[in-house]
Every structure is written in C-alpha cells, then in structure tokens.
Amino acid sequence: MIDKRFRIAAVIGISLVFLLAWVFPIVWSVMNSLKTEQDVLAYPPKFLFAPTLAAYRDVLFGSGSILPNLLSSFIISIGTTIVTMIMAVPAAYALARLRVPGKRFAGFYVLATQMLPPVGIIIPYFLILRNIGWMDTYQGIILIYLSFSLPFAIWLLVSYFEDIPFEMEEAAYIDGASRWKTLWRIIIPQVRGGIAVTVVFVFLNAWNEFLFAVVLSGNTVRPVTIAMFNFVSVEQTLWTKLAAVSVLAMLPVIVLGIVAQKHIVKGLTVGAVKGGGRR
C-alpha cells in the first residue's frame, strides 16, 4: 500500500514540475503585461506590484494599435481552417474507406509535401503569388497556408476515420442511407473528437505562423505575429507592451482549446463505449 501511495505521490510530484515549467512562462508574461517598464527590470523580480493596464491600453488603443493585426490573424486563421476542413474531411474519408486507384501513392504524396523545409519553398511561393498578383492578399496567404495545413489535416483525420468500425456504415447502408448521408450523419459525429483536434491544430498553426507571413504579407495583410516585432525594435525592447500583445495573441487559441476540449473528450468516450477496431 505504501508503495502505491508513494507511486501516486511521485506521479503528482513529477506532473507538478512539468506543469510549473509549462505554466511559468505564461504566468510570467501575464505578470509582465501588468507591470510598468521599471517593475519589469526590477531586481529581485517583483511578484507583488501595483498592476496597471497601461500596456494593454497602449497596444489596443494607442497609436500602434494591434487591433487591425488581430483581425488580420483571425481572417487568415479562420479562413485557412474552414477551407482546410471542407477539403480535408472528404479527402481523409476517401483515403480511409474508398477503393480509389493510386490511393497509397496519393497518401504518400500528401505526406511528401510536408517533407520540404519551408525555407526551401519560400522563393517559389513568393514568385507565384507575385505573378498572379496575390502578394499581400488574404487569398494569397490562405492559399499558401493550405499547402501545409491540408496534408497535415488529411493525415490526422485518416487515422480517425480508420478507427470507425465499418459495420456502422454497413448498418446505415442497409437502412437505405446514401454514402454522403452516411458520411454526414453517421461517420462525422463519430470523428467529432478528431475533427476538433484537427481544427485546433490547423487554427493554431495558421495563427502562429511567422516565416511565410513575413515574406508574403505587406501592409494590407499583417498578422499579429509580425506586428509583435514592432515592440522589439533595434533601439530597445518594450517588455510590457510585448508581454501584453503576447497575452492577447494567446487568448483566442486558449479559448478555442477550451471549447474544443469538450468535443475531444466526448469523442474519446464515444469511441471507448462502442469499441471498434482498425481495419
């Protein structure tokens, strides 16, 4: 018994250490965002201080407001997520279920697009967008983001589709449902957890992307990841404002994570009750 209790204590202890390591930078950012520049640099580091919202006021409503950049990030990330999901769900289903000629090759091809280092393809992308006049446009950035979010989403979803027992589909066909109706009514509710996970990842990747955004965007499309750099100028780092922007940029992703978690957990339990094997 002692042995077991010790083991639980050890697990909790180790988890706490990890949790602390993960949570600390976030807590620290939040704290810095509420400090004055002087408090940020204070030694020993201040954990108790008179909080101020000045940094938030400046980055939101000051001259260099990041609101347009947040909007820019939202348009890009939501656009990328919607288009990706519309295309990835049927594609993943087809790769998991249908007897399509060249399926294996298609699967590999999808994965292969993920193997190129992004820096290697940035010049071709730049030239393509430049030639079709889509530099610094939302459709341009979303198109480029699709090139890596789509393969990723398809591969993630395929495994979820494969986990659904074929018998469920057969039952639907016997009841007279078409393939589309089966996909929509039977399969998709089953992979809800998988879809939620994929949405979170695709959104997150698009939201955090920097390299392509910095090269392919301009004054019109300017996501928050790039605008953030205005606070790390060549002259000095404006720590409080940088922290405030970071916290603001984290919020949507955290909210999305919390919302999606409900579905992720539900998806897991559904699978657990019904069982099912890989086909």
């Binding site: 640099l41 205005n230 002259e235 000095q236």
Partner: protein, 464 residues
C-alpha cells in the same frame, strides 16, 4: 523650433526614448506639414521635383523611431513631387531576407529598402542595385550644390561603397562608443579607458557582484550583427587583417589574442547571462545600474537615458573606443542606407532617387531630428553639418558628458572601412564567425580551436 537652450531635464522630458508615442504624430502633422511654405527649402534645388508625378514606390524600413519620423514627414515629399510612397515596416532580422528574395527574383517589389552595409558586396556581385553615381551626376535629377554629398558622413558612404562606387545613400547610422558610469568611476578615481588594458582594469575596479554591479558587458549573443559586431573592432584593434595574401583569414595569432581578450573580459567581469545578451539587454542592464561600462552603439544612449525605466540618468558619460595593442581605435561604421533596386523600370528608378535625395538631404535630416515635432529625436543623422549645428548639439548633450565629442571624434578618426570583411559571401561567413565566437564565450572551445574551425568552414564558402 527653438532648441538652442535645451537642458538635460527638458530634453528628457521631451521623452527622447519613448518610441511608444511616436506614431501619434502622423495624423496631427500631416496636414500642417505638407503646406507650401514648408517646401521652400527643397525648391531651392535646381531640379524639377515634379517630373515623375504619378509614380508610386514602396519603401521597406524597419520599426525604429528614426524611420517613423521619416514616415511622418512623407506627405511633404508627396506634396513636393507628386510621387506616392508606401512604407512597409519589416522586423530587422527579416528585412534582409525579404529584400534579398525581392532582389534575386527581380520582382521590383521594393523600390528601395533600409539596407545593411555588409550586403552591398552581395548586391554588387549580382548587379541587383544601381550605382548612385548615375543619379548624382545627372543634372536633371540632382543639384549637387544643394544636395552636398560631401557633407554626408564619409565613413558611412565608404561603408556603402564597393570598389569606390556608392551603392546606397546613408540615412541614419551609428558608431560604437565606450559608455560608462561616471559616478562609479569618480568614486574610484578612474578615467575612461584609453586602451583595452585599462578597460579591463576599470572593469575590475568597479566589479562588485555582491552589490549587483558587474564590471563590464559586451554583446555575447551569436550573430553577424551581434557578437561579430563587437569582435570585429577588437580583431582590427589587435592588428588583425581580414585578408592575407588575398585569402579571407579569420584565425591566426591576432584573432586568437582578440577573442581571448573578449572571452576573459566576459568571464571575469560580465554577468553570466551576458553570453546571450544583445544590445538592448546590455542597455537595459546598464540602465538598472548593474553594469559599470559597455561598448556599444552610441544610439543606445537614448535607452540608458529613458526616464521611464532608467535609474542612471545623470550618471552616464561616454568615451571613444579604447585603443588596442596595435595603437588603433576601431569603431563600427554601421548605417541604414537606401539603394535603388535595379529591377525597376527606368522612370521609377529616377522617382526612387528623388525619394532618396529627399530623405538624405540636410533639410529632411534636420526635420526628422532636432526640428522634429514629435517626442523622438534622432541621434544618427547623416550630415556633418548637423553634427556641428548648435541646435542639434545642444539637444544631444542631454545624453551625458562627452557624448557629442566622442561620437564625432569616432566618426571622423576611428572608422575603418575594413572593419568587417566585405565580401558577397558575408551573410554566411558572418554566421559562421558568430558561432565560433559564441562557442568560445560559452567555454565549449578554446579561442584557437573555435577560430580554426571557423576558418575551415569559411574556406569552401569563399571558393564557391
């Protein structure tokens, strides 16, 4: 503007370093500043400013107050010339990447961009930018008597020239200076270092980590513009030559001595974290009173004098680089210059030249510096005449003792055009050297081993 009677207090109140408020100015000033009367000093030039009316050019700059001031005044340029300017702000690390992509693909996206002087060799080797001479010597485009090219800091012009040809017009620049705590030095009866040995002994004298004062700090973080930026001055001061028998050489006895000095100073007298520090970190630490002295860009004076966070205001003084064993002082000759993209159509190249001429001329330099209506004044103006203008000098004196004198003397006497090796392969070579310096600073390799390794990696780059 009456700036002749600027005291330190008034100067600091004006918030030289508060870059936060900087962009508030455009909307307020646009209307007022674009008026006809304001353009008179430009119209004194015997050229037709309106000859490229209707053209649109895009200019890439970095987020920095000195460019923000220029952007604020851009409506005046548009009123003067009828040319539309779009500015795009790109973070400093990415502006090089993005402009090289633009130049290499010949898309002409940026008519001009804030360029790193170390990139001109690469630009020249590929003919990506236009020689300035073409435009300077064309009487329909430039009035030499009005523009006064010779008034622009010669060191910066040299830095932006390849084989004697000027490729980018300096807009704003810096030199590296010794910045020190007058109060700490006075208490110990120290003088700012005249040579590197004294720099070390000064650092040792004020070094007192128990009281949270470290003797000195230099940039430690890896990067062609970070640790290499400081190391290159040391290397030259120790008598190092970048080229031996026409071969780029980064190792050898002088290099080892320079790097050993750097490593020893950092180990003994800098905070341990300084290995990963860049200039803003050093300035932040100095402003909190924890560093006795550092050598870095003169423009960092605005950070250590920022009333919002500095605790050392009134205790800061400046001096030139300490002399090295070779007897030389070697400061940096960094500047942001504007080149003309060779991929542009002819007419737009000329329109771009008008923009560059406007940005680099004495009138605009003054209007973006001491005569700027917003809070942020520039400390890197490109004109010798402005550095001698009492209105500007009075303002700059607010940064502390000997600031103007040290800056000017460094600009005139301590510059060295071969401060860093100017070769087209610089971006890759700079990175290699940066890694070598870092591994020595971190104690992963001896100075000799690190430099020999760098030499081995650099040789194939120079051949290729």
């Amino acid at each position: 503007m009456k700036n002749t009677e600027f005291t330190r207090r008034a100067f600091l109140k004006s918030g030289v370093a508060t870059s936060a408020a900087l962009a508030a100015a455009p909307s307020l000033l646009n209307g007022a500043m674009a008026q006809e009367a304001d353009l008179a000093p430009y119209k004194a030039a015997k050229i037709d400013w309106q000859q490229f009316k209707g053209e649109t050019i895009t200019v890439a700059v970095i987020p920095a107050t000195y460019f923000d001031n220029l952007i604020t005044l851009a409506p005046q340029f548009e009123a003067l010339t009828g040319i539309t300017v779009r500015f795009e702000k790109i973070p400093p690390a990415q502006i090089r990447q993005k402009s090289v992509i633009d130049l290499t693909s010949k898309t002409g996206t940026y008519a001009t961009h804030a360029a790193d002087p170390m990139y001109y060799s690469l630009y020249a080797a590929n003919k990506w930018v236009e020689p300035m001479e073409t435009y300077l010597s064309d009487a329909s485009l430039t009035d030499p008597a009005w523009f006064k090219l010779d008034d622009i800091v010669p060191a910066w012009r040299n830095a932006n020239s390849v084989d004697g040809k000027l490729l980018g017009m300096p807009y704003d620049g810096e030199v590296t200076l010794q910045v020190y705590r007058k109060d700490l030095y006075d208490a110990k009866g120290l003088k700012p270092a005249d040579d590197l040995q004294t720099f070390v002994s000064n650092a040792a004298a004020v070094h007192n980590p128990d009281a949270r004062v470290w003797g000195a700090a230099l940039r430690g973080v890896a990067g062609a513009g970070q640790n290499v930026y400081i190391y290159s001055s040391l290397f030259r001061e120790f008598g190092g030559q970048w080229f031996k028998d026409g071969r780029l050489t980064v190792n050898g006895p002088e290099a080892e001595a320079a790097l050993t000095w750097y490593v020893d100073l950092m180990r003994k007298y800098a905070p341990a974290a300084a290995q990963n520090w860049n200039w803003p970190d050093i300035a932040d630490a100095f402003s909190q009173g924890t560093i006795g002295t550092y050598v870095d860009a003169h423009s960092s004076a605005s950070v250590v004098n920022n009333p919002e966070k500095s605790k050392v205001i009134g205790k800061v003084a400046y001096a030139r680089w300490p002399k090295g064993p070779s007897g030389k002082r070697v400061t940096s000759i960094w500047n942001w210059g504007f080149p003309i993209n060779a991929a542009l159509p002819d007419k737009r190249k000329k329109a771009t030249w008008l923009f560059i001429q406007w940005a680099a001329c004495a009138e605009t330099q003054a209007r973006t510096a001491h005569r700027f209506a917003g809070p942020a004044k520039r400390s890197g103006v490109n004109r010798i005449s402005i550095w001698q203008d009492p209105a500007y000098v009075g303002l700059m004196r607010g940064f502390g003792d000997n600031f103007v004198e040290a800056t000017l003397a460094s600009l005139q006497d301590d510059t060295d055009v071969d401060w860093r090796p100017r070769v087209p392969q610089w971006p890759a070579i700079g990175d290699t050297l940066a890694t070598a310096i870092q591994s020595a600073l971190a104690g992963q390799a001896t100075a000799k081993a690190a430099l020999d390794e760098a030499q081995k990696r650099i040789e194939p780059m120079m051949r290729g």
